[in-house]
Subunit: 229 residues, 2 copies
């Protein structure tokens, strides 16, 4: 069975777990603390980043870009399911949005919030662990509104974020948002279209394991698992 | 003819110019200053990032991830040329390295050097232009050695950086290095294998337009265009 090295509150890992769910794939989850930089794990991915996929034949895909494209090549050839649907141009739109969520939204919002509020709880002091930097938290909270407005606009204009069909763009956005929704940090009340879109994706069977994730010592927001929040 | 919005000293744009050269494609170059965030350009890519490709039928691919995958899908279907060669696992290795160069090497080295030494020469003061921040330049120069060691190791172990064949990983690394080689900032003398690999890729016809680029008021390093440097 393919093995996925992941961390429950890493948005990149969550996207791959959702993708494997959508493809209907069976896989083994191995939890890897992204800050630990374990020597054995660095052999699989020299940057120490998760997710990393080790396939049945020993093939390795390391990092979100390699893993997501590897899986879509594999499963779209073997089944009817693709998370990069449509024409060349439609696939380019999916990838544009994925890039935006993984490299802009992550840097401005989700990366800071999960590092400060989640990762630092479990990191040793010499790894940078400790109390959250509240200035960084406040700055990230201030950055959310602009991103939510754009997600809201996409959700209002299109069936799914990148077009007519569900795609990696939806899983990517939902993976990032789900991490900070656990923390209660998504201002859903101002973004009804985004909320409706998220309720739809949250109701899919692939999302169930994500909703069952639990941070030791930190309970989820009241609506985290509520499908009609 | 497809149009590529690019900037001559943007490493992401350079990779796409190299790729188009390898595919044997004809295209029109439109220079776009990445810091200008022109309103008309933001319609093509709301993040304002280059490169952006506008194909003959009006299809748009925006940002390095979308453009590079779009072009490989298009040209590998139409010709024998692919920059993502080999098996699923070999393609994953190409993408792992591309990710490393575009998101680690760029953040630690190339992005800072071209911003401080090139972009800020042409940016207006209100855009952040002016004299380079020498602390940032020195920090980036200090980061180069580790990356060069790894490139040197890859070049010693493999025919090309990701394996037996030339791939996007080679174009990506060469695109980043070429920007800072113009500035004379690559310590080639300590990395012979990397130097031999770069001499090979620099000799390809696709590289000629890159070597002809010129920054107004700033001459290239003595060996920038020398194929036997």
């Amino acid at each position: 069975m393919p093995q996925l090295y992941h961390y429950p509150f890493c948005p990149f890992s969550r996207r791959i777990r959702l993708a494997l769910g959508e493809y209907g794939a069976s896989f083994e989850l191995i939890e890897e603390e992204p800050w630990a930089k374990r020597a054995d794990f660095m052999i699989l991915n020299p940057t120490g980043e998760i997710p990393v996929l080790v396939d049945n034949d020993g093939s390795i895909a390391a990092g979100i870009y390699a893993v997501s494209e590897y899986l879509d090549e594999l499963y779209s050839a073997a089944s009817d399911v693709t998370l990069l649907p449509g024409s060349l141009a439609e696939r380019a739109e999916v990838r544009r949005l994925v890039d935006w969520f993984d490299h802009h939204f992550y840097v401005a919002v989700t990366g800071n919030l999960i590092t400060e509020k989640v990762y630092k709880r479990f990191m040793a002091p010499e790894q940078g662990g400790g109390a959250p930097d509240m200035l960084r938290v406040r700055q990230s909270m201030g950055n959310i509104a602009g991103y939510m407005q754009h997600i809201d606009w996409l959700a209002a204009e299109r069936s799914w974020l990148a077009g007519d069909n569900i795609s990696s763009a939806d899983l990517c956005a939902a993976a990032h948002l789900s991490c900070i929704d656990y923390l209660g940090d998504v201002p859903w009340q101002y973004h009804e279209n985004a909320k409706d879109w998220y309720a739809r994706i949250k109701s899919r069977p692939s999302f169930r394991p994500i909703l069952a994730d639990h941070i030791r010592g930190l309970n989820p927001s009241a609506h985290y698992t509520d499908l009609d929040f």
